[in-house]
């Protein structure tokens, strides 16, 4: 099956005294090569869902299929490239050897790893910064390195957990364009977690809107805009209409106590 199939997934944390339903009855289907986004209020379980697909968490109900493999098999076969909320670059490794880490971990030769990492750093516009330690990179550059690292193994699924968290609007937009570009050059399916409506519309083919209490998917929105999308499109009526509609759907996901 050429898709990521999430079927009726639930995750409940419980002890003798309490029970917390993080996710309940979540189903989605993301086709190969698609860019799908999970959007929703804080605490709706969107990051949790991402982690279930990537086998960083195990669901208590339901099933997940990642292009014909279980999440565990997919993870063991290194099908996922992860970009976390913080870039989490290893501070003792240079930009280049941070990017080559996944190849080194999977046992490839130093030379091969270096070449591939070099290629990726160039792709994300960071040639010339190979030997920089993470501490000497700006926030935006560190995130480019994190994206390059996630792409090193040509992952089947590119996992993006609020990758540009904490950057200002302009840098964010710039990096979103970069992200779109490098993703389009890859064969990866992308799964993004965000709470930014405009970002979701800009990047996605398909957006799942989530609500909390318990975490669930309340709507699926298709974004049918041509690619590559540019910053000029941000002000076009059809883009703005999609943003407006998605905002309205998202607003309904917020419970009264959130507002």
């Amino acid at each position: 099956m050429s898709s990521i199939e999430v079927h009726d997934v639930g995750l409940t944390y419980s002890s003798k005294q309490w029970e917390f339903v993080a996710l309940s009855g979540v189903s989605m289907s993301v086709g190969q090569g698609e860019f799908a986004t999970l959007i929703g209020p804080s605490g709706c379980g969107k990051s949790t869902l991402l982690r279930i697909v990537a086998d960083l968490l195990t669901p208590s109900a339901g099933s997940v299929d990642v292009f014909g493999e279980s999440p565990r098999e997919a993870r063991r076969n290194r099908r996922f490239g992860f970009v976390f909320q913080d870039p989490v670059l290893l501070p003792w490794r240079s930009a280049l050897s941070n990017v080559s880490l996944p190849l080194r971990v999977s046992g490839r030769s130093k030379q091969e790893a270096r070449n591939r990492a070099q290629e990726l750093l160039t792709l994300v516009g960071l040639s010339g910064f190979e030997s920089n330690l993470p501490a000497t990179l700006s926030g935006g550059m560190a995130r480019r390195v994190a994206i390059a690292r996630a792409l090193t193994l040509d992952p089947a699924v590119l996992m993006l957990d609020e990758p540009f968290n904490g950057l200002d609007e302009i840098r964010r937009q710039h990096l979103n364009e970069e992200l779109q570009r490098v993703w389009m050059e890859s064969d990866s399916t992308a799964l993004l977690v965000t709470h930014d409506v405009s970002e979701a519309v800009f990047l996605s083919d398909r957006v799942y809107v989530m609500a909390k209490g318990p975490g669930r998917i309340i709507a699926e929105v298709t974004i049918d805009l041509p690619r590559p999308r540019t910053r000029d499109m941000l002000l076009e009526p059809n883009f703005l209409k999609l943003v407006k509609d998605l905002s309205a759907t998202l607003s309904s996901a917020y419970a009264m106590e959130d507002l």
Binding site: R51, A54, D55, L56, R75, R76, N77, R78, F80, G81, F82, F84, Q85, D86, V88, L90, P91, W92, L101, P102, V105, S106, L133, P134, A135, M159
Partner: protein, 254 residues
Amino acid sequence: MSRVQRFILLFFVYAALLGAWQYIAYINAGPQSLVAGPWEIAGTIVERASGLWEASVVTLSEALAGLVLAIILGLAVAIVIDAVRLVGPTIYRLSVVVYSIPIIALAPILVLWFGPTFTARALTAMLASFLPIVINVVQGLRAAPFAVSELGKSLAMSRLAILLQLRFRYAMPAFFASLKIAAPSAFIAAMISEWINAERGLGINLLYAMFSFNVDALWANLIVATFWSGLIYVICDAIAKRATPWHSSAQGVS
């Protein structure tokens, strides 16, 4: 302040301190004096250089052996505490209990077990210095960002590989910081251990000097012991800065 100015300032501060010390020794001078001035101490150190050097070698080797054992034990215990959640807290508490036994009480027990040997002294030094390593490394491992573990997991690394190859690197600055505490502790414990079970060494020399009321020798031993203890600290600090140049501790003053 420029480097030169700072150097000159420090020079005068130390000169003033030594001068004051020499003055106190001078006004107390006499056969009953308990204060030896820096000049007399320096004279004694030169005079007894070969004896002090021999004693230093003995004590330093005990301390070093103890420190190496403490590093091995400390790292092993820290890794077990981190990796084996079931017994971790118990081992942690047990380590604290062992460390809380006063050295002066522990040393005789080790002598009973191992005789008045080098082993007993090295083990005393080990027990006096392993806990700072355990605590710091455990804290350091916990300070590694959780996402690093997730990154490792997503790359199909084993838990042990994540611990040793990723998280342990985050604990390195804490590990080296702990050496700065552990190394002088090991040295002091080696000296204390000599009080009850040695014939040679800086610790036992101190005791001999005290009983024979040789004030100059007492002070000379004290200064030499302090010098080694300080030198060990400086060496550990230098190693720390070289080993973790990416860490902020390598840039600032420490």
